[in-house]
């Protein structure tokens, strides 16, 4: 089928170049025209549309797909250790690490975080995530466990995960956001469901709707 059709298509293209665009049945071979008639009857589509589509396919089937240009993601630079420390000192109103470790507020605030290794940046980052905010290089993060730009396993930020403003959102909006996310992450969803993510989201939901 291909060869005959191709020859005739080339002719049609040439005529198109001279300004005589004629996408008529004449340039499609008999086999294609018969098939177009059959499809037209079965599906109730006009033969003209089908002919046009057939010509489009013949003309373009060897062309390569246009590759989408990779969008340049500008990732923020991670904070330096000294910047992390400074932010944490400021939050706990201390001058240095020795004072920080002695600070009762710091001991309270980190009591559930297990043993923190302050010899490594990781220990400081954990405290930053918990009490200061989102690390610049982790804002708008994508990948496993990331919802609305944050990793829900790293951050205790339910409002952000639900994409809501804590000052403005109503309980109904919390419910609605949870419902929408549940459609994606509920383990019953075979394609996108994830028990761990769903469990974490459920904890966030229960926390935000708790009546104290």
């Amino acid at each position: 089928m291909g060869t005959t059709a191709h020859t005739e298509v080339k002719q049609s293209t040439k005529s198109a170049k001279t300004g005589e665009v004629n996408m008529s049945k004449a340039i499609l071979n008999q086999i294609l025209q018969n098939e177009i008639s059959r499809f037209s009857e079965i599906h109730g589509v006009s033969t003209a549309s089908l002919s046009e589509f057939a010509l489009f396919v013949i003309d373009n089937h060897k062309k390569k797909d246009l590759k989408p240009k990779p969008t340049k993601v500008t990732k923020s630079k991670p904070l330096a250790l000294s910047q992390l420390k400074e932010a944490i000192y400021q939050h706990f109103k201390v001058q240095g690490t020795t004072e920080l470790k002695k600070s009762g507020a710091f001991q309270m605030a980190t009591s559930g975080m297990g043993k923190l290794d302050f010899a490594k940046k990781d220990g400081w980052e954990k405290v930053y995530r918990k009490w200061i905010g989102i690390l610049p290089d982790e804002d708008n993060e994508t990948g496993y466990g990331c919802i609305n730009g944050i990793n829900i396993f790293k951050y205790d930020l339910p409002w952000r995960a639900f994409g809501l403003d804590p000052k403005l959102a109503s309980t109904e909006e919390v419910k609605s956001a949870y419902r929408e996310l549940s459609k994606i992450y509920h383990p019953d969803n075979r394609e996108t469901g994830d028990a761990q993510v769903f469990h974490r989201l459920t904890i966030f939901y229960k926390s935000l709707t708790e009546r104290f």
Binding site: S111, P158, L208, F212
Partner: protein, 340 residues
């Protein structure tokens, strides 16, 4: 808070002056009446030793001395006095909060590696009312750093009460600090968020020490009794290698102050121990006293009269004992497994 005094020793240390300088300053103040420099007994100081006239100063008195010394010789003394009173006031307030925690955290429990304290205990520790504590929790929920179930608070199935973890208490203290208008209340609540954790650590450490002490007393009692059941007078051997138990004559939970007292312990075979608790008392959870055990021996082992004499002697040594309030045991008497 009652009037705060600084001792003469602390005053000279704070002002970095010699004791003679203080004595001379006091003499100067007392020598010329009705001049600019006056120290009034009762208002600026109190005499603690009449014979020597040793004084303790109020903040007003200490500031007056600092002002005099600044005018005459040194500068920067005012700030030193201010710092001393601020620090001392903070230390006293913290001591008060720690005492409140100690007396009001019998609900302390460790779950999922986190320490939790009940909402009702927290109401007392923060010195607030339940509805206001709940208001602070609601306030926290309206911020990015909301309280997270299981991490910051939880409701435990065994008693259905709401508990807050130490991190949760810290979040609440931030809310109180933000919402309170009275300065002293603000400071109190802020410091609750700073002293609870170290205090809980000290309490847990004491509970652990107590547990070890109880175990040591039980081992000592078995050694004292030559590892022999004091009721049947039998000792385990290779043929009949029965287990021994150290029995608390006054039960451990109801008389926790006697739990690590050796005189309150007696060595029994596990069979006899079981018979006493299950058959005679009706269950291990039933409180018992030394009188219950005397009755048991007299009823089931009437020939062991020596033991009854020994028990009556122990009863005299232990004196008249009153059980603790079972509904709210002191935190220091909590079983170690509750906080470990």
């Amino acid at each position: 808070m009652a009037e705060l005094y600084i001792t003469s020793q602390e005053l000279i240390k704070t002002l970095r002056i010699s004791s003679q300088e203080l004595i001379n300053t006091e003499k100067f103040f007392d020598s010329v009446p009705d001049d600019e420099w006056e120290l009034i007994e009762g208002k600026d100081y109190r005499v603690v030793i009449q014979s020597s006239g040793l004084r303790e100063y109020t903040a007003a008195g200490a500031y007056t001395i600092a002002r005099y010394l600044e005018a005459n010789r040194k500068s920067g003394l005012w700030g030193l006095i201010k710092e001393w009173f601020l620090h001392t006031k903070q230390d006293i307030r913290r001591a008060f909060i720690k005492k409140k925690v100690l007396d009001n955290c019998s609900s302390l429990i460790k779950r999922n590696n986190l320490f939790f304290i009940s909402q009702s205990d927290l109401v007392v520790i923060f010195g607030t009312k339940l509805h206001y504590l709940n208001k602070m929790a609601e306030h926290t929920q309206g911020t990015q750093y909301a309280l997270i179930q299981g991490q910051d608070y939880d409701v435990f199935a065994d008693d259905g009460r709401r508990y807050y973890s130490l991190e949760g208490i810290y979040k609440l203290s931030l809310a109180f600090n933000e919402c309170q208008s009275k300065r002293n209340r603000k400071e109190w609540c802020k410091e609750v968020g700073e002293v609870v954790e170290p205090q809980v650590q000290d309490i847990v450490s004491q509970i652990e020490k107590r547990e070890k002490s109880i175990q040591k007393s039980m081992d000592n009692a078995k050694r004292r009794d030559r590892k022999t059941c004091q009721v049947t007078e039998q000792k385990p051997n290779k043929v009949d290698n029965f287990k021994l138990a150290a029995h608390h004559l006054y039960s451990r939970n109801e008389y926790p102050h006697l739990a690590d007292v050796e005189n309150n312990l007696i060595t029994l075979s596990c069979d006899v121990h079981e018979r006493f608790h299950q058959t005679h008392m009706g269950g291990y959870n039933k409180p018992c006293t030394i009188d219950d055990f005397i009755n048991f021996v007299e009823k089931y082992y009437p020939t062991n009269t020596k033991l009854v004499i020994w028990l009556k002697d122990q009863k005299l040594k232990l004196g008249n004992q009153q059980p603790e309030d079972g509904r709210k045991p002191h935190v220091l008497y909590l079983p170690f497994n509750r906080v470990s």
